[in-house]
């Protein structure tokens, strides 16, 4: 046998390994790079910072991954976060629990609305949620009278700064939600339906799957997760800042999902990949700041890393 026949399967195996585990590898590489070249990187406090900062993006990206799994996209997540933030001061008097419930309701309602537009009216996801992206933040500002509000409720603020057994609450929430999302996708009928809808919608319809319910449900989940991220970020900030909270979050979340190996064409959801996608982008971000790169270079480097990560994880055609 010629050498070509020997190396070919090997190369195929390497590329398929990279495709599946590329994002984990990238995280490891970046960690090693930082350990070697970044001062004061190896400290518990630093890892804690990275995890806490990655948590909101991660939470939003989980919802985004589900939506993308159905061949959709949710551009409204940032605005939903801002609506959630705007609602916080209005209900904080009744306690943090009420705030969370109210924000969740708002997130779910907004998700139901997107889902309705997509599933019932057949409007394309990107445009349905674009309308919410534009209008939602305006609505949040109307609710908040355009004002940033300083928060003082200790219990609420603890959501952003507190620990449970040494693990920051935000990280804990993100971890639990990730596990739940993983279970949802792999182990529930809803999850399997979701991928089928994304894989071939007419086929899913004709297989008698509750396509509309799945779509609406997915957007509702995405809305709810965005609302949770909004509440947590608000708690961390110590203020309700509907004008700025969650700006461009949709792009960060989509990047995390895609870098994590879920194709934008739907039909496949990689939950752990998404989590690592969020971590990867967080590490990139941190690395750039810690090396004090100017904004111009930072943006170009980020662009290059996104392309490289997606290039490695892309679906290849067999030829």
């Amino acid at each position: 046998m010629s050498t070509a026949t020997l190396t070919r399967p090997d190369r195929a195996r390497v590329t398929s390994w990279l495709q599946n585990y590329g994002v984990y590898l990238a995280v490891v590489v970046l960690l090693l790079f930082n350990i070697a070249f970044t001062q004061n990187f190896l400290s518990a406090a630093n890892f804690r910072t990275q995890l806490v900062q990655a948590a909101p993006v991660c939470i939003v990206a989980l919802g985004m991954a589900l939506v993308i799994g159905t061949e959709g996209i949710d551009l409204s997540v940032g605005s939903v976060m801002s609506v959630a933030a705007a609602l916080v001061p209005l209900y904080l008097g009744a306690g943090p629990l009420t705030v969370i419930v109210v924000a969740l309701i708002a997130g779910v309602v907004s998700g139901l609305f997107s889902g309705f537009l997509v599933a019932q009216l057949g409007i394309q996801p990107i445009i349905a949620t674009l309308a919410l992206l534009v209008g939602g933040r305006g609505l949040a500002l109307v609710i908040a009278h355009g004002q940033l509000v300083q928060l003082h409720n200790r219990d609420f603020l603890a959501l952003g700064t507190g620990d449970v057994l040494g693990v920051p609450i935000m990280v804990l929430v993100a971890a639990v939600l990730s596990v739940l999302a993983g279970l949802l996708v792999r182990r529930t009928t809803f999850g399997r339906h979701l991928v089928a809808v994304g894989g071939n919608r007419p086929a899913a319809t004709l297989a008698g799957l509750p396509v509309k319910r799945v779509l609406i449900g997915v957007y509702a989940i995405s809305g709810a997760l965005a609302a949770i991220a909004g509440v947590l970020s608000t708690a961390r900030l110590g203020a309700s800042d509907p004008n700025d909270l969650g700006l461009l979050m949709e792009l960060s979340a989509i990047t995390a999902v895609v870098v994590g190996g879920s194709p934008l064409t739907g039909g496949r959801v990689r939950v752990l990949g998404t989590v690592f996608g969020a971590l990867l982008m967080q590490l990139v971000h941190a690395t750039l700041i810690k090396h004090n790169l100017p904004d111009s270079a930072a943006q170009m480097v980020q662009a290059a890393i996104i392309v490289a990560a997606v290039y490695v994880a892309r679906e290849r055609s067999t030829r």
Partner: protein, 334 residues
């Protein structure tokens, strides 16, 4: 029960209006005769105000409020004050100004989104012989011909003063991090330049990091959290607006540091929240950037119509807050 939350700004603009720092109208200023514009009475004329960004931060809220408040005080009927908001979109601001002119505005007050790029709008005003007063941000066009005058702060000077304040509170030694404003914004450019120029005079202070926080509290906080990790020996922070400064304070507190003591914090703006932090002891100084241009703007227009010469720019005096005066003056903050 205790108060759970506090609004960021008193929108009643209770602080002092901006006042001019420059000398009295000089003879070589711009006069109505030089421009050949028609004479009007600002109190009965139609006045147009073009705001650049959403009224969603204390500065913009106070600024718009001050214009409206002054108009009301002068007895200008509500339908004679036309307002638009460019929503941070330069092209929109141009069309906004053109549509103000189209709707009959005879005097214009413009808060430019950017120093460059408003030329077409200014040209349109010129063609209609409408005087334009720009506030808070200077445009790079020609005063008197393209626009009447600029009223606002000197951002470079604000940077100087911030550096001086920082030198004072740190005792002239330490490592400084700068939280920059949005890239490409000339406010960022000027406040950075002024700060660095002045800081160079204090050799004990070195800038170890400068990263953008995009004038945003949460971004300022995130960046600061990173910097605390990679520069544990940081002793001072200069934030180019209060919001990022407050974010930095949050980050320092979460990291178990003592802002105002271990790490000195200085910023520019003069918002209520930041000044309150000085009072509370976790902030060191705030250089004011006064947004209350209403009185001065209308006054200037009045003087112009009265035939008095108007200088090409009217730089206002900005206050500053530090440990010594914050408690008394916190009521002035917006």
């Amino acid at each position: 029960t205790s108060r759970e939350e506090t609004p960021a700004a008193q929108s009643n603009g209770s602080g002092p209006a901006a006042s001019a720092a420059s000398a009295a109208p000089s003879a070589d200023g711009c006069t109505i005769d030089k421009t050949g514009y028609p004479k009007l009475d600002p109190k009965t004329a139609i006045v147009g105000f073009s705001q650049s960004e959403k009224e969603a931060n204390p500065f913009r809220i106070a600024e718009t409020q001050s214009i409206r408040g002054e108009a009301a005080k002068l007895g200008i009927p509500a339908d004679h004050l036309l307002t638009t908001n460019a929503q941070s979109d330069l092209n929109k601001q141009i069309s906004d100004i053109k549509s103000l002119l189209d709707r009959g505005a005879q005097l214009l007050i413009v808060a430019p989104l950017n120093s460059d790029g408003l030329q077409p709008a200014l040209d349109a005003a010129k063609a209609k012989k409408v005087p334009v007063v720009t506030i808070d941000r200077q445009v790079t066009s020609k005063p008197c011909t393209d626009y009447l005058t600029f009223i606002g702060s000197n951002f470079i000077e604000q940077g100087h003063r911030a550096a001086a304040a920082l030198a004072k509170s740190t005792g002239g030694n330490g490592k400084v991090a700068i939280l920059l404003g949005s890239s490409g914004n000339n406010v960022t450019t000027d406040r950075t330049k002024g700060f660095k120029d002045e800081l160079a005079k204090t050799p004990g202070l070195t800038v170890v990091a400068e990263q953008t926080g995009e004038f945003d509290r949460s971004k300022g906080q995130s960046v600061m959290e990173q910097l605390i990790q990679s520069h544990p020996d940081l002793t001072a922070v200069y934030a180019e607006n209060d919001e990022m400064g407050i974010g930095a304070v949050n980050a320092l507190k979460t990291a178990g540091k003592n802002p105002g003591k271990d790490v000195k914090v200085v910023s520019v703006d003069g918002t209520r929240n930041a000044v309150q932090l000085i009072v509370d002891g976790s902030y060191n100084a705030v250089i004011e950037s006064n947004p209350r241009f209403g009185q001065l703007a209308f006054q200037t227009l009045q003087q112009f119509e009265d035939g008095k010469p108007i200088p090409p720019s009217i730089v206002i005096t900005d206050d500053s807050y530090d440990e010594s005066n914050a408690a008394q003056k916190v009521g002035n903050a917006y």
